[in-house]
Symmetry: C2
Subunit: 219 residues, 2 copies
């Protein structure tokens, strides 16, 4: 199956969630857009629009063909083959990622994990992997042809690591370090800053309490 190559970024951001929900529907042949939308946490109008962009249309009265739609989504996202992924940083977070069994079922294979701490080298991770020294990073990337890497280092180490990853051929970085990485055009960075996520929840709590106060004032 060929990816369409014409899905806008905003739609693309929702496709992995649709794929995850469909993958959980083992043994189900078809599903209505309303049911699928509810399970994905979007409106059915949004879902239908997104899937139409993909060229996938449900059948009126029957719904979407679950296995067919799952394959189309996997193809669109480039998940028909496994992507090798290298993890930089063997702290709690790096180990959590390296040990996350769910990655394999979702199209990714952790092929290497490195840590700056020499004493950690040789420590076992699941899947027969061991932590390797940071000095081996470029060699691991070239050997495994990984183009996707995860940075799970402290903030101060992240930029030099990103530079090294890019020099070795990585073009997609998932960055957990709380710092804005500078990378050349054409390299994609997705930032996940757990502090930012919590601060946005705090903002929501603050808005709630302001709303309560203003309602009280209006009483």
């Amino acid at each position: 199956m060929q990816p369409s190559g014409r899905v806008p970024e905003s739609t693309a951001a929702r496709l992995p969630v649709y794929l995850r929900v469909l993958s959980d529907l083992a043994g189900v042949d078809s599903i209505s857009s309303e049911e699928l939308a509810a399970a994905c946490g979007v409106s059915s109008a949004q879902l239908r629009k997104d899937l139409a962009v993909l060229g996938s249309h449900g059948t009126r009265g029957v719904g979407y063909d679950v296995p067919g739609l799952r394959d189309a989504l996997a193809a669109e996202l480039g998940l028909e083959q496994d992507w090798p992924v290298v993890i930089v940083g063997g702290g709690n977070l790096g180990m959590a990622l390296a040990n996350y069994a769910g990655f394999l079922s979702r199209g990714f294979r952790v092929v290497g994990i490195v840590d700056a701490d020499q004493l950690r080298a040789g420590e076992a991770v699941v899947g027969g992997l061991v932590i390797q020294p940071m000095a081996d990073l470029a060699r691991i990337i070239r050997r495994t042809h990984a183009v996707i890497a995860v940075i799970a280092t402290p903030a101060e180490g992240a930029q030099p690591v990103a530079d090294e990853l890019v020099a070795a051929g990585v073009t997609g970085i998932l960055n957990f370090a709380p710092v804005v990485l500078s990378v050349p055009a054409g390299v994609a960075v997705r930032d996940v800053d757990l502090g930012v996520e919590l601060q946005l929840l705090a903002f929501h709590e603050q808005q709630r309490s302001l709303g309560r106060d203003s309602r009280r004032e209006g009483e």
Copy 2:
């Protein structure tokens, strides 16, 4: 300092990053919008627009007052006091979060961590915390007045946990479980699915290779 209570959600999503960058500028009194924008990874037009909504204007030729802007951002996000946070799930990810020293400097204090595995109860985390049994969850929330909680459980356990959190008074959930949670209106959920993040990088790689192919075809 009073929060303005009129910042749109899309702007709010960028404020934690501005705050993080300003917090790293210890000893710096003022900064130009261009420099600050570059460090935050946004355009200076975007930065100026966001900060104007906040009621904060730089001084022409001098720039932004760093400590003043930092205080205004913290107030806007509701970070002038520490928020108590409860973590559900003591696996690698839950422990990574519980042990993340950065939370404290960013407005959060982990006041409890629970795990469904009875054998984990009593295990030490940093800061004098120990893992407590899942059965104590509601009691911990009521005692600590936590309104923000983190779900770091496997997918199948997440919805019952969310139900229990909401029943105990939690109104903000950071969800790492790969599942769409169903919560009442007024409860905020932020989903961080590490598989989704990697799949979006894969999508980017796929788009790159399609772009290369079509360029080749045009040669």
